[in-house]
């Protein structure tokens, strides 16, 4: 049979039939491409369709639900997207006032510190998209890992110890928490530079600010990471200068855990901050998740204890605790500089940084003298001639007005 069958039937066919067969055969790869394109186009559309129908809740009930949530265990993947319109060089610097934290311009000044230092790592979250793996088992055990291509940076809190491990440099960072106050200290430490790594942390921060100063409504439902969720919409009220347009928090309908947090600045465009679970489970993560013993040969940097660690950045950059002007959404944080704008005296420190910053900022002047204004989509920062820094999620005129008022 096999012998009788022509090995190449097309060889004996007239030219026309052969051409037809040829076209037909090329249709196969074309069809594969078509089917693939259709799958890529359709599957997400099908998966997204339809918001879940849930019994209606008032905003108050929903906030109570969040507060009453006793979910202590979580294991999930978080995607953080930040779009502040920052030039990437400044990632450490100008936006650090975002959530009231006083972070030293890490990207610029801490080149001498260990790559495993949490401070150095968490500021990278201020730009672009990042994937995090988050696991928690109660107050005593938490782990946050920043997933990088073929590398990972993990901060592990287990009992009274905090470890950080940076796989790309194979270095570790260790700091012991003060025993009497381990939970509170750990919480602060883990959230590193007060940058919210999870939707819960972000929602917690915003809801305390929003009480009484914003309109809070329940605005429909959504499906987040496979869970049905209520959408909480927060719009600032009685705040003329704020750059925040609205904040949306998706709250899991079963557990009351915030699953997604979206911050929309005024003006159109992408959300300035989007933190959401892409995968989440509320089962207890295995104990081995939180176990860390520094492998042999790994360089370990001992951190200062947690309390002093928090003070360190301010001391380093020469600024004291910030004073606060205004309230609610229009809050402006003021860091009083010691003396004039840093000159060239510190060659590699603030002086060089200030010169570099000047290139990105806009020169403004008023009765406070002159200064440099840095604009992002969410936060504006004014660096005045006398070395004070005014920062807040407010528009530029509010900052200059505040500086003028202070000069008077």
């Amino acid at each position: 049979m096999a012998l009788i069958q022509p090995a190449q039937p097309e060889a004996r066919e007239p030219d026309g039939g052969r051409r037809g067969r040829k076209t037909l055969r090329y249709a196969v790869p074309a069809a594969v491409v078509g089917v693939t394109a259709a799958t890529i186009g359709l599957v997400p559309a099908l998966a997204d369709s339809g918001d879940p129908s849930l019994p209606s809740l008032t905003a108050e009930q929903l906030i109570t639900k969040i507060a009453a949530s006793d979910t202590q265990t979580v294991d999930g993947t978080v995607k953080i997207s930040t779009d502040l319109g920052l030039p990437s060089v400044l990632s450490g610097g100008s936006a650090s006032g975002l959530f009231g934290g006083a972070v030293a311009p890490t990207g610029l000044s801490s080149s001498g510190s260990s790559p495993a230092d949490p401070q150095r790592q968490f500021t990278q979250l201020l730009i672009g998209s990042h994937t995090l793996h988050v696991a928690a088992d109660g107050q005593d055990r938490q782990k946050v890992s920043i997933i990088e291509p073929a590398a990972e940076y993990s901060v592990i809190h287990n009992g009274s110890e905090v470890w950080a491990y940076d796989s790309s440099s194979n270095e570790a960072y260790h700091s012991a928490l003060p025993a009497q106050d381990s939970t509170a200290g750990a919480h602060r430490q883990l959230r590193a530079q007060d940058f919210p790594a999870t939707p819960q942390a972000a929602a917690e921060q915003i809801l305390t600010t929003a009480q009484g100063t914003a309109s809070i409504t329940v605005d429909g439902t959504a499906k987040v990471a496979g869970h049905s969720a209520y959408e909480l919409l927060i719009r600032p009220q009685h705040a003329s200068a704020t750059t925040v347009d609205s904040i949306r928090i998706a709250v899991d309908s079963k557990t009351g855990v915030p699953l997604k947090f979206t911050l929309q600045p005024k003006g159109n465009g992408k959300a300035a901050l989007d933190i959401g679970y892409t995968k989440v489970s509320f089962d207890k993560p295995s104990a081995s998740t939180f176990a860390f013993t520094p492998p042999k040969g790994v360089k370990v940097t001992e951190g200062r204890d947690a309390a002093r660690e928090r003070k360190a950045p301010e001391a380093k950059s020469g600024f004291g605790e910030p004073t606060v002007i205004g309230s609610g959404w229009d809050t402006i944080a003021v860091f009083q500089g010691k003396g004039a704008l840093p000159s060239g005296a510190e060659k590699n420190g603030k002086g060089g940084a200030a010169a570099m910053l000047g290139g990105f900022g806009k020169q403004v002047s008023g009765s406070f003298g002159s200064g440099t204004l840095f604009h992002t989509r969410l936060v504006n920062v004014l660096l005045t001639q006398d070395g004070s820094i005014y920062a807040g999620a407010v528009d530029q005129s509010a900052l200059t007005a505040a500086a003028n008022a202070a000069a008077r």
């Binding site: 090995a7 055969r25 090329y26 196969v28 790869p29 793996h133 997933i147 073929a150 790309s168 492998p295």
Partner: protein, 308 residues
């Protein structure tokens, strides 16, 4: 090349007789024929001095990396700067020799490995055409489709062989130059060595399957021309172009569709928990490339005129 004729020749006669004798069992005979064809293709590929030279180069990479790391860390310092430049897993080698396998794969996967695949795949059909042996192969009653399948199967076998050569060489060098023990995963968790070796095997498998898309692409290019060198150069050139496009940030919209885009996802196996998203995407992308270019190669090869 005369070698192709001698290896294909006897097989052709044997199986031809077998088929004539056992008509009802023609299906089994056909299977034997296909195996014979595949076997002769494998011999053609692996007997070539060129192939052996490629494998030798691949085996040399872990040796170089291992010796370099050994010299660098001899006095207890870390590799390179403290910021961890260079290929992934490089920093971990001095503490655990097993990581030399992962670092070598990460170092060879962008160019060395795929270039070797490109040479073998690009040469598979066009090389026979340019030496004039293709028509002899087609005289056999195997059918062009089955010949093409045998060619692709031998390319895939070479993918596995090339990956294994890198891994084995790295394991030998790593285990002899560096301490070996419990494995610290990227996430900081420590697992026993046996677990680490299992993960290593999975990684080798993933790396080998990362190359099946390129193999099909090379096979397709190989059916387009009668010049073996031309097909090899085109495949390797295309690979380099795509790797460059894959690294230009402005073209990020295009990148998820390029076959090397998820290649480094094999490193996700070394996390705890393992993140499968990138790995699944990589395998799906390779399957699509294999289907598209495999069928295109079939469409081209089964309808073209073979004149040489």
């Amino acid at each position: 090349m005369s070698r192709a004729e001698t290896t294909a020749g006897p097989g052709l006669q044997d199986t031809g007789q077998e088929q004539r004798l056992a008509l009802p069992a023609s299906r089994r005979a056909r299977a034997v024929w296909t195996l014979g064809l595949f076997g002769s293709e494998l011999l053609i590929v692996f007997r070539r001095v060129r192939t052996l030279a490629l494998l030798a180069v691949l085996a040399g990479v872990p040796v170089l990396v291992g010796i370099a790391v050994r010299i660098e860390t001899h006095d207890g310092s870390s590799v390179g700067g403290s910021d961890g430049g260079g290929p992934a897993f490089l920093e971990q080698i001095s503490n655990n020799g097993l990581f030399l396998a992962f670092a070598s794969l990460a170092a060879t996967l962008p160019f060395f490995l795929p270039m070797a695949i490109g040479v073998v795949a690009g040469d598979s059909v066009a090389g026979e055409a340019s030496t004039g042996t293709l028509r002899y192969l087609l005289v056999a009653p195997a059918g062009r489709t089955r010949l093409l399948l045998a060619k692709y199967a031998s390319v895939l076998t070479f993918c596995i062989a090339a990956t294994l050569v890198v891994v084995l060489s790295a394991v030998v060098v790593g285990f002899s130059l560096f301490p070996v023990g419990d494995v610290t995963l990227l996430s900081g968790n420590t697992v026993p060595l046996s677990d680490g070796i299992l993960r290593g095997l999975l990684i080798a498998l993933l790396v080998a399957s990362s190359l099946i898309g390129l193999g099909a692409l090379g096979l397709f290019i190989s059916t387009l021309t009668d010049s073996g060198i031309g097909a090899m150069a085109a495949t390797v050139g295309l690979l380099i172009t795509i790797q460059i496009v894959n690294n230009i940030p402005q073209l990020h919209a295009l990148q998820p569709y390029l076959f090397p885009h998820y290649w480094l996802s094999f490193a996700d196996v070394m996390r705890a928990p393992v993140i499968w998203d990138g790995i699944v995407k990589n395998l799906a992308l390779q399957a699509v490339y294999a289907a598209v270019f495999g069928s295109a190669a079939w469409a081209r090869f089964s309808t073209r005129d073979v004149t040489s």
